[in-house]
Amino acid sequence: MANGNTQGEVVLAADGTPLKESLNKAMRKNRIRALLLVAPLFIFILFSFLIPIFDMTFRSVDNWQVGTLMPNTSLALKDWDGKAIPEEAVFEALIADLKAGAITREIGKVGTRLNYEKSGMRSMITSSARKSKKVKEGPYKPIVFKMHKKWKDLETWTVIKRNTSAYTIGYYLNAVDLKFDKSGEIVRQPENRQIYGKLFLRTFAISMAITIICIILAYPISYLLATMPLRYSNLLMIFVLLPFWTSLLVRTTAWIAMLQSQGVLNDLFVFFGFIDDANRLQLIYNLTGTIIAMTHILLPFMVLPLYSVMKTIPPTYMRAALSLGANPFVAFVRVYMPQTLSGIGAGSILVFILSIGYYITPALVGGTGGTLISNQIAYHMQSSLNWGLAGALGALLLGSVLALYTLYNKIVGIDNMKLG
């Protein structure tokens, strides 16, 4: 049916099998070969990228601690109405769980989990578990009350009950500056604990600013690169690439030497009399430092796609526009620039997404004004060990990047993006 001329006759290949079959066979072979060729990359991405992302995203809702390590209490609390301190049966279950947890030395995990929701619960759990070893027989309620005064708070029990479920939205609430209040309602964090929302906004604003600065700086350089004679443009290209090949840490540290108040730049300013010695500019450990250092680091990601697009634009177009009567400015804006849009798009996406995830540079030169959300994620990964919250923040960041990408695709179209 592929070929109307055969009129029902089966076309045979050289070896006598029908051509269609033989073709399919060859195609299948090709497909398998192609698959095998991409398999290493696929497996690599699967293990180094997809599985970790799923794992971290899962952690952001996973809430296994209380249910698994305090099974008796969880069961006993199932029918608790939450209106008053639970009955003796719950306390008996609690003692059993604390005892078991003290022996396996895992009860601390419950304390850590609960402490995220209410400060002080870590020591309540661990100290009670230590004391529980000596408890012999009931009634357990007064014994538990004596272990720690917080057991008398209704809120303690509300928090425990809430976390008996295997999944939680608690980390996501935390990541958008919300929390559960005493009665379990979702409310805003108090003013002095709201950080993540502000940091997200700041991260996007800074990334946007860096992207725009990169466009402004990279455009003329790329133009020069694309239009200069090869001899000079190669040299210029090396200047662009040299920092690109230098370690990120080295470049960041070099910026510290350049920008600090006793640094090269300020010394030059003082030497030429732009500023006096007492009023040296604070160019680092703040927003300015972050923007300068990150713009420098990300600039090649804008220059390279722009260059590769500009390289393909024939100079005859501009000449044609000029000879048809446009002045150089109009010719540039109406003929040349539209053709570079795909390069701008590709460069912007690269720079923007890379800067959203940056953390070493802001950590070193950002001070307080220039740190980004990724610094908080790194903090929760490495220092506070609150991996659930790190996962939630990371998932939100990933989600917003994907959303922006989709938006970009809708407006500009991803097919119009050219990376080289």
Binding site: E106, I107, K109, T112, L199, Q262, Y285, S383, S384
Partner: protein, 360 residues
């Protein structure tokens, strides 16, 4: 050919296993730099010489992230970790580290005092932790910054009028809040009582806010001495060992402000599911005996955690200066110890509040 390759690979891997079974290598994780160098000289090399057990020294930058990842993956490749007390407590609570019976498993003092009595009072705060050294986080200042004037107390750090200039502080809530309260007149012994109240927390943040615009926040321990050396800052907080090497080895014009120093303990923790627990316990016993701890002080200005090691501290191995006056333990009465239980409970909240305060 293929078969041969297969068999030979198999044979080689078997050989590898056999040789691994014969001589245990211990993977010992520590902070790197001058500190690990002091441990190598004082414990690793003598131990290898004595027993033939090889020590693989691995550097890390602190924290329990890697340790937790290993124990969750049930593949613990670290045999011994050098941790700060706070992490030992946290890791012990979560079952990452193995509890240690001090008297049974650790060496007694030369005069027979059991280990639990020989380690300095207040250092055995976690059952999974064998103390090694006492270090302190203290302020140092540029001695040439204000002519002849010299700061003598914590309040001077917060006195911008008499001691103007930038302060390099660690970007963390811990210590900074305590210092703010001390500078505000709270006696050392009452710091945590005050900090435990809402009023006290507000008071600490309010005091800290008075110098906020003159603070450079650091995150890496190498930064504050650099900032002072570059005259970017006049005061800086940092580990006393780093200040010692900046002052005595690099001859920087810095001086120590011991007032309000925070004493902290660093020591060993043994991962609970490590592969060579028995072997590593022998090493820890050797490395934390009286002589070894005293030896370490020859290479770095951290105080040994044993009473019996104190009198044996002598001169620096290469500089030849008397190490006694550079030990933070000598100025213990001017400092305090972090209340780790308080921080374990309130750390999450305080760090969030601190981060929010920085953003304001």
């Amino acid at each position: 050919m293929k078969k041969m390759l297969k068999y030979s690979t198999f044979a080689i891997s078997m050989l590898g296993m056999v040789s691994a079974a014969q001589a245990v290598d211990l993977n010992v994780v520590s902070w790197g730099g001058a500190y690990t160098a002091s441990q190598m000289n004082a414990y690793y090399k003598p131990y290898t010489k004595k027993t033939g057990v090889k020590i693989n020294s691995i550097d890390y930058s602190g924290g329990l992230a890697e340790m937790r990842a290993q124990s969750e993956a049930k593949n613990v490749t670290w045999d011994l970790v050098d941790v700060v007390l706070a992490d030992a407590i946290k890791g012990c609570d979560e079952g990452m580290f193995r509890p240690i019976d001090m008297d049974k498993e650790m060496a007694a003092a030369p005069d027979g005092t059991p280990a639990s009595k020989d380690f300095l009072k207040g250092t055995l705060l976690s059952e999974c932790f064998v103390p090694q050294i006492i270090y302190s986080t203290a302020f140092a200042y540029r001695a040439d910054a204000w002519g002849g004037k010299k700061p003598t107390k914590m309040a001077d750090v917060f006195d911008l009028k008499n001691f103007p200039g930038k302060r390099a502080l660690q970007k963390k809530a811990i210590n900074n809040l305590e210092w703010a309260l001390i500078a505000d007149g709270v006696p050392l012994s009452k710091v945590y009582d005050v900090l435990d109240t809402d009023v006290g927390k507000d008071r600490a943040f309010k005091k800290l806010a008075t110098i906020k615009k003159d603070v450079i926040w650091w995150t890496e321990g190498a930064i504050p001495p650099q900032l002072l050396a570059d005259e970017e800052a006049v005061f800086g907080t940092g580990y006393n060992g780093r200040w010692f090497s900046a002052i005595n080895e690099e001859k920087q014009p810095f001086a120590m402000l011991w007032d309000g120093q925070v004493l902290d303990i660093d020591g060993w923790a043994v991962p609970a599911k490590g592969k060579n627990v028995a072997e590593v316990m022998k090493f820890v016993k050797f490395a934390t005996d009286t002589q070894r701890l005293a030896d370490q002080a020859k290479y770095i200005s951290y105080g040994p955690a044993r009473l019996s090691s104190g009198p044996m501290v002598s001169k620096h191995a290469t500089l030849g200066i008397d190490m006694g006056p550079h030990m933070p333990t000598k100025y213990a009465d001017q400092g305090f110890m972090t209340d780790f239980a308080w921080w374990a409970d309130n750390g999450d909240e305080m760090n969030e509040r601190f981060a929010a305060w920085l953003l304001q």
